[in-house]
């Protein structure tokens, strides 16, 4: 465990000494909860419509697929036309695009980012490496099945998928959301132990709380 995460005594600027246990003090220990859809069906449908038409993507290029994100943000493809935007912080993002392979080191960050996103949240697996390891199938440092570590709504085939394939996946995602089937966040909460077990199996130095809100 990193030094900064260990229990220690700290002297504050005012000279007051106190004990700090970062993992307990700085983080929330609560497990995620499944949030049921709105009681009224019509309300939920309206919400789903709004969610599907306003997709905010977390600007986290986890792998090579991130390079095809730029054409989407720029004139040629201009995904903004379709209600898609990029947000720099996980708190405000709804869609996490895992753009290709995830090394174990990135997986750790990806999980943290994913957990910091708010329910409902969606995950898009981009490229063959998220489906079954892709060309890194025998690499010692990349995960093979993304859906073992976080719930994935859609996968896009390609290495790497073209921007058009991504746009097609946004269209597909909109359909899935409107149909009320994009319940990844709840699935994550319900199968939390299973996901955690999978994650901990590959992340050897687990030095973070089990759940980052």
């Amino acid at each position: 465990m990193k030094e900064e995460l260990q229990k220690r005594t700290v002297k504050g600027p005012d000279g007051f000494e106190f004990e700090v246990d970062p993992l307990n003090d700085y983080y929330c220990s609560e497990a995620p909860k499944a949030h049921p859809p709105a009681y009224a069906k019509i309300v939920e449908s309206f919400f789903n419509w709004a969610r599907s038409e306003s997709i905010w993507i977390l600007g986290f290029g986890t792998g090579c697929g991130a390079i095809e994100m730029r054409p989407l943000m720029t004139p040629r493809f201009d995904a903004y036309r379709f209600g898609v935007q990029w947000r720099p912080t996980p708190r405000q993002a709804n869609l996490f695009i895992i753009s290709g392979y995830l090394s174990v080191k990135t997986l750790k960050r990806a999980i943290r980012s994913y957990e910091q996103m708010q329910n409902p949240k969606y995950v898009l697996g981009l490229g063959s490496c998220t489906i079954n390891g892709g060309m890194y199938w025998d690499s010692y440092n990349t995960i093979k099945k993304l859906d073992d570590y976080m719930p994935v709504d859609l996968f896009v085939a390609g290495c790497m998928p073209r921007p058009e394939a991504l746009l097609a996946s946004f269209e597909e995602l909109k359909k899935v959301i409107k149909a009320g089937k994009a319940e990844g966040a709840n699935a994550y909460a319900e199968n939390f132990d299973w996901y955690k077990a999978n994650q901990k199996k590959v992340i050897k130095d687990w030095d973070m709380p089990d759940y980052n809100w």
């Binding site: 504050g12 290029g61 792998g63 054409p71 060309m135």
Partner: protein, 392 residues
């Protein structure tokens, strides 16, 4: 001045030569930039210790994109390595293909056809334009001027179209194969390329007017991120970063490979060695590349005979024991492959020398000290680093 970090005020140096940074004192703040951070190029992170707005210590963390190519290649046959090498560097993959192919050809004693060499050079120059276009957008974007990125990404996209029709793919072209190239230029390629080049030139003019003749941009970049020319050798600085410091080193001119001996060009250099000069050197380098592409297309010899050299059956291709190093000038500097063979059907060892390795690690860690947090992103972008080639 950046290079003798000013430690007079803070932090104190411990007896063991390490910095005495006590985070709990409240004087220092630890900031992580990345890996999820819009100001970071690619997937890497900076661990910054700041005091006020000033960085007192920076550490670069890489490895988020590590796939172990060098290991994977050891268990792939020589032809099987060909599709995976391009993945080492995403924005400019062709250099991997070229360096790998050239290394294998040298070790196996294969001579490639003349036209294949011209097509390879064409692809490398096209890739360079693309990479610089991304850089220009990134440099402006790091300072909050998104509009430049819009234009450059658009023309890069046009170039990707040319790539697509030539190579059959947008990003990972997998076209420069050991033994030659996969196919000839498609019909009418030259004309469409000329249109694209014109569009690029128009965009470069706009970029020049809006980005380089811009009071605020100058304010943010001039005199910042100075690299002393004396550091160039000891820190292994290559490419535009070195040329912006006035050191006219360009592998294309120094150790001409492929058809560069047949092309006319002069390495672009700058004087001030700051962020502005580095961007400007790159901008002028694109102009040169555009010119080179034109030269290549007009001077390329007609096709006579197959583009591919006669390869042995690739399914059991064995190469005798040997080692070599192949380098080329990519957009970021010297790109090289060190390949060792042992007489079997697999490479014994492949080591990729990406220019970002030295630029983003030792150089950036040293330059980042005493820099305002606001300039960190811009400084990092100005070194033009791509993390995947650091950790491979």
């Amino acid at each position: 001045m950046l290079y003798q970090p000013d430690r007079s005020q803070y932090p104190d140096m411990g007896p063991d030569g390490k910095l005495d940074i006590d985070l709990s004192s409240g004087k220092y703040l630890k900031l992580w930039q990345g890996p999820q951070h819009p100001g970071i190029t690619g997937n890497m992170s900076l661990e910054l210790t700041v005091c006020g707005d000033e960085v007192v210590e920076g550490k670069v963390h890489v490895g988020y994109l590590h796939r172990g190519f060098e290991k994977l290649m050891e268990r792939r046959s020589f032809i099987q390595c060909f599709p995976i090498v391009c993945r080492i560097c995403v924005p400019e993959p062709d250099f991997n293909e070229y360096c790998y192919a050239a290394a294998v050809e040298e070790l196996a004693g294969i001579e490639i056809s003349e036209r294949a060499k011209w097509i390879r050079t064409l692809i490398l120059e096209m890739g360079r334009i693309n990479s610089y276009m991304m850089y220009l957008g990134g440099q402006a974007g790091a300072l909050g001027m998104g509009v430049i990125g819009q234009w450059t990404t658009y023309v890069r996209d046009l170039m990707l179209d040319r790539f697509e029709e030539l190579t059959g793919a947008r990003i990972y072209h997998m076209f420069i194969i050991p033994g030659g190239v996969r196919d000839d230029l498609p019909a009418g390629f030259e004309d469409r390329m000329e249109e694209t080049l014109k569009e690029i030139e128009a965009t470069l003019k706009d970029v020049q007017e809006v980005m380089f003749q811009n009071a605020v941009f100058k304010k943010r970049t001039k005199g910042i991120g100075y690299i002393d020319p004396s550091l160039v050798d000891s820190y292994g600085i290559t490419g535009p970063n070195a040329r912006a410091a006035g050191i006219a080193k360009d592998v294309r001119a120094d150790q001409p490979y492929l058809v560069y001996p047949h092309l006319d060009f002069e390495p672009v250099t700058g004087k001030d060695s700051d962020i502005f000069t580095r961007s400007d050197v790159r901008r002028r380098d694109v102009i040169m590349s555009v010119d080179l592409v034109r030269q290549i297309l007009s001077r390329m010899p007609k096709k006579d005979g197959p583009l591919m050299a006669k390869l042995p059956n690739v399914l059991h291709w064995k190469i005798p024991r040997g080692e070599t190093y192949i380098r080329g000038e990519c957009s970021r500097g010297e790109y090289g492959f060190y390949v060792v063979t042992d007489g079997s059907g697999y490479p014994r060892r492949v080591n990729v020398r990406g220019p970002s390795y030295t630029h983003a690690m030792s150089l950036l860690q040293r330059m980042i000290v005493n820099v305002n947090i606001a300039d960190v992103a811009s400084l990092m972008v100005s070194l033009h680093t791509y993390p995947p080639e650091i950790e491979r």
